[in-house]
């Protein structure tokens, strides 16, 4: 039969292809090597006591705190607890939603200001009102918030529940910033 030679070759090639695929397939897991996988613990963590804050003041905390300064200094773990000038408690991610620099709180203006390209966020709800972050479309123009709880002794806890995504933004039109503050 004239055809048997070429069909035999085709069968050989198919076997070769299958073999190559079978060898390569396990290596697809290599992709995961490049990502450090999240252990995903969201502990309840004490931040401060209300007596340590006065209206128009702020303090930094890292969440989740590990005790290892190498890890705790990471920008993506940086949060800021603010007592606004009219006495409301707010906890924002410090990662600017523009390009990830770390804004600081300026009490005289009641604003968070980013040192990189000058984005300005309101202390009240973390929404950008000026600078490049303000030009970004909703919902990428507001700082994510951490839900916090205050107990009867005045201790403030970070719950680990984040409203929004760090570095990306928050759907601030859906929920009022006050929903992220509970008294227990």
């Amino acid at each position: 039969m004239p055809d048997s030679g070429s069909s035999r070759r085709r069968a050989l090639k198919a076997m070769l292809t299958v073999a190559v695929l079978a060898v390569i397939a396990p290596f697809t897991n290599l992709v995961r090597f490049f990502y450090r996988e999240d252990t995903g613990s969201a502990p309840r963590q004490r931040i401060a006591n209300t007596s340590e804050l006065k209206p128009g003041s702020s303090l930094f905390f890292s969440y989740p705190r590990t005790g290892d300064p190498k890890i705790d200094g990471d920008p993506f773990r940086q949060w800021i607890l603010i007592m606004t000038r009219d006495g409301k408690l707010r906890a924002y991610s410090r990662v600017c939603v523009h390009l990830w620099c770390l804004p600081i709180y300026v009490p005289e203006r009641g604003e968070l200001i980013c040192p990189c390209h000058g984005s300005i966020y309101k202390e009240e709800d973390g929404v950008a009102i000026a600078g490049p972050a303000a030009f970004q479309p909703y919902p990428t123009n507001a700082l994510p918030m951490m839900s916090i709880e205050v107990d009867e002794k005045g201790d403030i806890y970070a719950t680990g529940v984040v409203d929004g995504r760090v570095g990306l933004g928050r759907e601030w039109k859906l929920r009022s910033p006050d929903t992220n503050l509970k008294r227990v």
């Binding site: 490049f34 190498k70 990471d74 920008p75 990830w100 040192p115 390209h117 984005s119 300005i120 000026a130």
Partner: protein, 444 residues
């Protein structure tokens, strides 16, 4: 067979060289044609070689710095400080590494534009050209990952912006950025380190094997002179270590000069990926496709006014955006006003610059001129040549001595300057030397 006997030492050396060269003919080295010019030739033609030499200087100094540098979030800054302040000769090594990176970026840009204006991307050089552009981009990435390893305030801003930009890239961004970041900055610093000392340089070396033309000009006096210039500049303008990164401080810091142009784009408040990556990328794309667009047979810039005008416009844009990126209006009180660049003014200035360049090119530059008379080469008589060699030699010795003295007196920057002067003068001496041996050889 008895062992060959040589009458003089010179004969033995010649035989050894011959033996080696014959065996090297079996290696890829034989493919290269090295030329060691016997007299001064314009460096424009071999700017690429100079860039490569500076790349090697970077490789050497960088490898030495690795002995002390620690890629760790909490130790990196301190280790750089240690190299700079307490490791003997560490100051010089770090400054050489830093300033050589500036030289490399600059030389690469000059190389690009010389080749561009002389139309060298044609005549079957397309592959050399395209690999050259990619090498240029890799050079900037290499420099970027390098200065971030210090983990000072400036580095952290650059890292944040770079990562934010990567993340904001459409489609791929969200899956690529975590590869660079890992679980956070404690991973990122190690990954940047791997990129900086191994992955990117390796890529560059591989590309270099495709990019290097087979005929190479090795001009020793100029090479020594360029290395000397790195030392001189390093001694005069030592790079600072900056302030240690502290997440609780908000500081305005401008990035390194080869990135301020991108910084200027970001400060206009335009969409970040568009402003920070796509517009600069347009630049690169223009250069990537130019050999496939400019199909004419003409090489001289005078005969290609459109591309000449585009080239001049691109230089002007690079200069203007770079300077603009540096400009921070500290008279304003809040950070936003200090940094904000009005986009309408900014982007319309591009139109204006392009128009001006086309106007000037078509109106004035391409006018045919008479044949330029070739400059008459300066020829020194053998006697004055010998004097020149002796004088430069004396100066080399003087500066070498000064360098040792000032180092002993704990003035590493002055010492570095003197080392550079000694190197430059040594290059000059080499030049006089070859010149004189040439004039002395042929009697007039």
């Amino acid at each position: 067979m008895s062992a060959p006997r040589y009458k003089t030492f010179r004969e033995a050396v010649d035989a050894l060289i011959k033996w080696t060269v014959e065996r090297l003919e079996r290696t890829p080295f034989a493919a290269f044609k090295f030329t060691f010019p016997k007299q001064y030739i314009s460096p424009y033609g071999y700017l690429g070689t100079l860039t490569t030499i500076v790349f090697l200087v970077l490789g050497l100094s960088g490898a030495i710095l690795m002995f002390y540098y620690t890629p760790s979030v909490d130790l990196a800054y301190a280790s750089v400080k240690e190299i700079e302040e307490s490791v003997p000769f560490g100051f010089v090594m770090r400054q050489v590494h830093y300033h050589a990176s500036n030289f490399m970026v600059l030389l690469a840009v000059f190389h690009l534009y010389y080749q561009y204006f002389s139309g060298r991307y044609k005549i079957k050089n397309e592959v050399l050209w395209v690999t050259g552009i990619i090498l240029g981009i890799l050079t900037v990435l290499e420099a970027y990952t390098g200065y971030n390893l210090i983990l000072n305030q400036r580095a952290m801003l650059a890292i944040n912006i770079g990562m934010g930009l990567t993340f904001a890239a459409p489609v791929l961004g969200p899956s690529v950025a975590p590869i660079l970041m890992g679980g956070g900055y404690f991973d990122l610093i190690v990954r940047f380190y791997a990129l900086h000392v191994f992955i990117i340089p390796l890529l560059m070396l591989l590309l270099l094997t495709v990019h290097i033309p087979r005929a190479l000009i090795i001009d020793l006096p100029m090479i020594v002179g360029v290395i000397g210039a790195i030392f001189v500049v390093g001694g005069m303008f030592p790079a600072e270590i900056g302030i240690r990164f502290d997440p609780s401080k908000g500081l305005v810091e401008v990035p390194e000069w080869y990135l301020t142009s991108i910084y200027a784009f970001l400060r206009t408040g335009s969409e970040r990926f568009w402003a920070g990556a796509l517009l600069p990328l347009l630049f690169a794309i223009f250069f990537l496709i130019v050999p496939f667009v400019d199909k004419s047979k003409k090489l001289s810039w005078r005969d290609r006014p459109f591309f000449t005008a585009m080239g001049i416009a691109s230089i002007l844009m690079i200069v203007v955006t770079t300077v603009w990126g540096f400009y921070v209006d500290f008279s304003q009180r809040n950070v936003f006003d200090q940094l904000y660049i009005e986009p309408i003014i900014y982007y319309s200035s591009f139109g204006l610059m392009t128009w001006a360049c086309f106007f000037v090119t078509y109106r004035y530059l391409i006018k045919p001129r008479g044949k330029p008379t070739p400059a008459k080469p300066v020829v020194l008589s053998p006697a004055s040549g010998a004097v020149a060699v002796a004088v430069t030699l004396a100066m080399v010795i003087a500066f070498g001595y000064l360098a040792l003295m000032t180092y002993a007196q704990d003035l590493p920057n002055v010492s570095m300057f003197n080392m550079g002067m000694a190197l430059i003068l040594f290059g000059l001496m080499l030049h006089f030397y070859r010149h004189t041996s040439l004039t002395a050889a042929k009697p007039r």
